[in-house]
């Protein structure tokens, strides 16, 4: 049962309320003909016409590039100063259920041994307001990985669009309830009574069996299976899929600056790049693109589930949409279900 209702025209009020509280309001906006998550200042910037924004909102929890320390080299040698992190409260509005489900995955990987505060401190301050999907496309496959437009995992607040364009609002977590009460002025207690818009539920891909995939990946023989090369030799080795993926988390640490001072940065990396796992000797255990692609698949369906007990793939389909050679992960999933 809905806790509150949000009139579409009151979104501005919500944004103002959030921003007046000192928080950042992140929502899909159109940039270069694409819906993109962006920190916005008014309702007119927000777009409703999207399936999923081009980027994942992990950008706001795990930025593509961030300074983690500064260094200077002087008379006394090298001096390193850590970067104090004081993340802003952030509201991510308009997330989809699939990518909200990725939060647990990211958290698991950033906390499994030591805690990466650069991630956790941000996540702790983030409220995820999800809008259940009323449209989608052929790349969507959440149902195939066990999620659906109604999944609430990772969301603090869940919105369902009604036929007249307003939203019924349900708090999922304590943080969500806090959010509703903090910004109560933006919400209505009762709605117009209009029916909920039907959700877009992608058809489950018949040939895919996640448990069978896991089983198959657990057996080492698959490494030499020619099926890998056959399916993925068209991969050109760019990092587009990993950079839009809500669960991809690889990063690289680099130093940038002059000879005397500079900063240490944490930058996204991608397992698809040909320098991934390249050893200083010149040897690379993953010396062909299909091996790197296999690694990505393993990460999603073996490493994440087995090592962190979390899901590696949420079925958002971004990697399929963005791939320059239309390499469709579900086709590989199907093959690996055999």
């Amino acid at each position: 049962m809905a806790d509150k209702f949000l009139k579409r025209e009151n979104l501005g009020r919500l944004i103002d309320s959030v921003r007046n509280g000192g928080a950042r309001f992140v929502a899909p906006a159109i940039d270069a003909r694409q819906a993109v998550y962006r920190a916005i200042s008014g309702a007119d910037e927000v777009t409703w016409d999207y399936i999923l924004p081009r980027n994942s909102f992990k950008d706001y929890l795990f930025p593509q590039t961030e300074v983690v320390a500064e260094y200077s080299i002087g008379e006394g040698g090298v001096e390193i100063r850590g970067r104090e992190l004081s993340p802003k409260d952030t509201v991510v509005f308009g997330s989809r259920p699939c990518e909200a489900a990725s939060l647990a995955s990211l958290r698991s990987v950033f906390t499994w041994d030591s805690v990466d505060e650069f991630y956790t401190a941000r996540e702790d301050k983030t409220t995820v307001v999800t809008v259940a999907c009323t449209n989608g496309d052929e790349a969507c496959f959440c149902t195939t990985v066990g999620l659906s437009p109604e999944s609430v995992a990772g969301s603090d607040v869940m919105l369902r669009e009604t036929a007249d364009g307003d939203f019924s609002v349900t708090a999922i977590t304590g943080r969500g309830r806090g959010f509703l009460s903090a910004h109560s002025a933006a919400f209505e207690d009762s709605g117009s009574g209009s029916a909920q818009k039907p959700l877009f539920v992608p058809e489950k891909i018949e040939g895919v069996d996640i448990s069978r995939i896991k089983e198959r990946l657990a057996r080492k023989e698959h490494y030499d299976d020619p099926v890998w090369a056959g399916l993925t030799r068209k991969c050109i080795g760019c990092g587009a899929c990993t950079f839009v993926c809500p669960t991809c988390h690889c990063f690289d640490i680099i130093d940038e600056g002059t000879a005397f001072e500079g900063e240490r940065r944490k930058n996204w990396d991608a397992c698809q790049f040909d320098s991934f796992t390249l050893h200083a000797s010149g040897h690379n255990p993953r010396d062909a693109q299909f091996k790197r692609w296999r690694n990505r698949f393993m990460c999603k369906f073996n490493f994440y589930p087995n090592k962190f007990n979390s899901r590696g793939c949420v079925g958002c389909g971004r990697c399929i949409r963005v791939c320059p050679v239309r390499l469709d992960i579900t086709e590989v999933m199907e093959e690996m279900s055999r």
């Binding site: 050109i236 760019c238 930058n267 996204w268 320059p324 239309r326």
Partner: protein, 297 residues
Amino acid sequence: MENAVREKAKGLLTSGEVKVVIGWGWNRNGTRTTPVFITRPEDAGRLVWNPLCVNNLSVYLTRKFKDIQALGRPAIVAKGCDIKNIAVLVSEAQVKREDVYIIGVTCDGVVYRQELWKGELTPNIMPTKCHNCDVRNPHIADCVIGDRSGFVPPEAPAGMVFDRIKALDAKESAQRWEFWIKEFSRCVKCYACRQVCSLCYCERCITEKNMPQWIETSAHPRGNLSWNLTRAMHLAGRCTFCGECERACPVNIPLNLVNQKLITVVKDAFDYRSGYDASAHPPMIVFSPEDKENFIK
């Protein structure tokens, strides 16, 4: 025509003249084309040819794809524009002409992006290159499939890319700077532009050289600018305007503008057009004592 491509591929594979045919096929749902590698004659039926066949498959001829090379001598289904890239690869000794069988397909244009396809090829969904194409009948090929195109490109190149370049050129430099910094600031350094480009065949890209690290790997505007400037320079005199980089860019950076700008510069300054002559030296590694400029004081 599609059948002719299939028959040709089948014949080549059956005779053993080639070991793999690189072409386009459908994805599972039959909604998008995707590169396919046909190694058995009986699979030749998977090949397709239609206006969705946008990918420039010549990238698969480069040394980066060792496992494709390991399959044996390739045949490649190629549009005229794709063949331009093969010509550059040959001129830069990356591919020997005799080592690849080119199945040229005549072409009436392709879509700019597959998402735009609504079942019919209309001029407004075609990229600028198609509007100005002078290689609709493949200029270098071992065989050409399809009816001869009678298309005559306009004398003065036209299309959105040219219009936008003209508009930018007319602006103040500060406005151009603002425009490009905004465009490049979206760059996520996924290097899809590089990976999809058959002329970016370096096994170790300059971005991956870290002693010294000329191009900062960070995706901040400074690192993005140096990457995009360097990419453009490395393609100066070589780029054939196939448009793959812009198509592959997940953040819609208008790379075609930079590419075409330099193509025009090279054409005007050195009277060179890339991709037409596989025996020509790329213009940026040769010179003429008569090269004209007016800015070196």
